[in-house]
């Protein structure tokens, strides 16, 4: 029996201190259970990729095993996988550079000027995210075939830009709003042109925002499956598509599949850990920043 009673509230069985401790224990129990739910599938796929094929699917599982890079060597020999990986990397990185070149200047203007119908413009930009990609992709499929953009890297880069443009404009506008205009004005008084002031003063201050929005854009393009499925055939195949095809064709080679999956998850996981501070602002288009 608990004997300590809270003097202020005799009806309560435990003192304030004890209750706080109990609450903390309960809190951590729930949080650790969720951590386990989150980490277990990730651990499972990575550990599977490090086991020899036969051991990978043995049940009961071998919790202790000697890791091997056998599956990764197999994977590297898979030329279709390697070329899809390189393809994705080239296309996604170029799309991120372009989307920044298009989106950041526009966000700057939306932040600094009284653009007519500003709110409507911003909602319009957001509306590009409301359109389901499947509806967008049909017109592009027809037009890409007419313009010989079907199954090209240029076509895919264009589609990746469409995924991220609203994100870049919204988040960067919020960032520019937070940078005081006075520095820029001082530079202009000293004789810098408007463009120079933007380039040398405002842009460097927005660097953290640009980096995080670039990484988030990278992730969204990197994990995209539908555009690759519809708009490519073999020359511009993406890594997601390649893994998707593995699921169908090579059902049996579980450990190779695990390695292929691990390779496309790990870089993104690292990015997410790196930008976790900015993630909320990025994902919610900057609306959470209001302090």
């Amino acid at each position: 029996m608990a004997t300590t009673t809270d003097p202020k509230h005799p009806s309560r069985r435990f003192s304030k201190e004890t209750r706080k401790q109990l609450a903390a224990i309960g809190r951590h129990t729930v949080l650790l259970i969720w951590s386990f739910i989150v980490l277990f599938p990730l651990y499972w796929i990575v550990s599977m990729s490090l086991k020899p094929p036969r051991e990978a699917i043995s049940l009961p599982p071998d919790w202790v095993f000697l890791p091997t890079v056998y599956n990764y060597i197999q994977l590297a020999a898979e030329s279709s996988y390697v070329s899809a990986f390189v393809n994705s990397l080239v296309m996604v990185v170029s799309s991120v550079i372009l989307v920044l070149l298009i989106g950041v200047p526009a966000a700057y203007i939306l932040s600094r000027y009284d653009v007519p119908k500003q709110r409507d413009v911003l909602v319009w930009i957001l509306s590009s995210r409301m359109l389901p990609p499947i509806a967008v992709v049909i017109p592009f499929f027809v037009i890409f075939r007419a313009l010989n953009l079907y199954d090209t890297r240029i076509g895919m880069v264009l589609m990746y830009i469409t995924i991220n443009i609203s994100l870049v404009v919204w988040v960067m506008k919020a960032f520019f709003d937070g940078i005081p205009e006075t520095l820029e004005e001082a530079a202009r008084v000293d004789g810098a042109t408007h463009f120079q002031a933007f380039l040398r003063v405002t842009l460097p201050s927005a660097k953290p925002g640009i980096i995080s929005v670039a990484i988030i854009s990278f992730i969204f393009a990197w994990i995209e499956l539908l555009f690759g499925l519809v708009l490519t055939n073999n020359r511009a195949v993406t890594v997601s598509m390649q893994v998707y095809q593995f699921i169908g064709v090579r059902q049996i080679e579980w450990s190779l599949l695990a390695a292929a999956t691990t390779v496309i998850i790990i870089p993104v996981l690292l990015f997410v850990v790196a930008v976790n501070k900015y993630l909320a602002a990025g994902l919610s288009f900057g609306v959470v920043i209001k302090e």
Partner: protein
Amino acid sequence: MNTPTQSEVRQGISVARLRALWNDYLPYWFMTPMVLMMLLVTIFPGIYDLYLSLVHYDLSSPSTMGSFAGLSNFETAFVSGDAVHSFAITIAFVAGALVLETCLGFILAALVTGVRSERMQTFYRVTFILPMAVAPVSLATIFRIMLNTEVGVIPYLIQTYTPFVAPNFLSDIPLLTVITIDTWNWTPFMFIIFYAGLSSIPDTLVEASQVDGAPLWRRYVHVIIPYMKPVLFVAILIRLIDLLRTFGLVFSLTRGGPGSATKLVSINIFETGFKFVDLGVASAIAIVYLICIVALCNVLIAVIGFEGVWD
């Protein structure tokens, strides 16, 4: 000393003039690429979808290609096809996932905000957002392996350590499985936004209600949740939009099956358009879907109002 030739003078003037043009109209130069891009990605697909939905555009029958179809595409999809069924599946999927992700995300965010140790808080925050980084197709691979009836670890654990018989997750309870996996994948999104919102609540507000001796649930209902309202609404709106876009995860997990048990609208459009190559009918479904989504979003934005959220 050399005097500048006439052509050099002319060149100098034109460069200066170009520079002036660049600087004087900077806002226009800065906005134009974005506006063009937006026209391309919003207006163009909408109009083109509408056009395609009104003509015969069946790639397998070139004879009727491009001829006016009236509303027959809509009839094929909604009256004789299973488009209505796919809308119902989508509503069930979106509602289930949205409710689960919002509740779980909020509870986890509230619990993590209360963690005293800075280190543990960072550990939880970073761990909890990891699932978001997993591509839909990788996620599908992971769970197809883990849920497999022969080699999967989850059925094995259930059979071995619980009295229950493990169902075949992807064929016995496909929609529930898909919702659960989406919850694993996207609760982090709700978590991180609610966490940011909760951390921005001024301490004084919480302290004041603590001094009053208000019990925990009252503090949430009367102080914290009203304060968080804009953040809650925006998170729910954005998650709703993204759930309606879901394709990759469900497609690579079940391909819409078994039968059409998980055939979301986006999968239905994909199959109609790119498996049965009837882009006219696919566009008809897409147009209806587009109208529903845009209407829904506009109603929600009108109800929420962006007042105090962005300006």
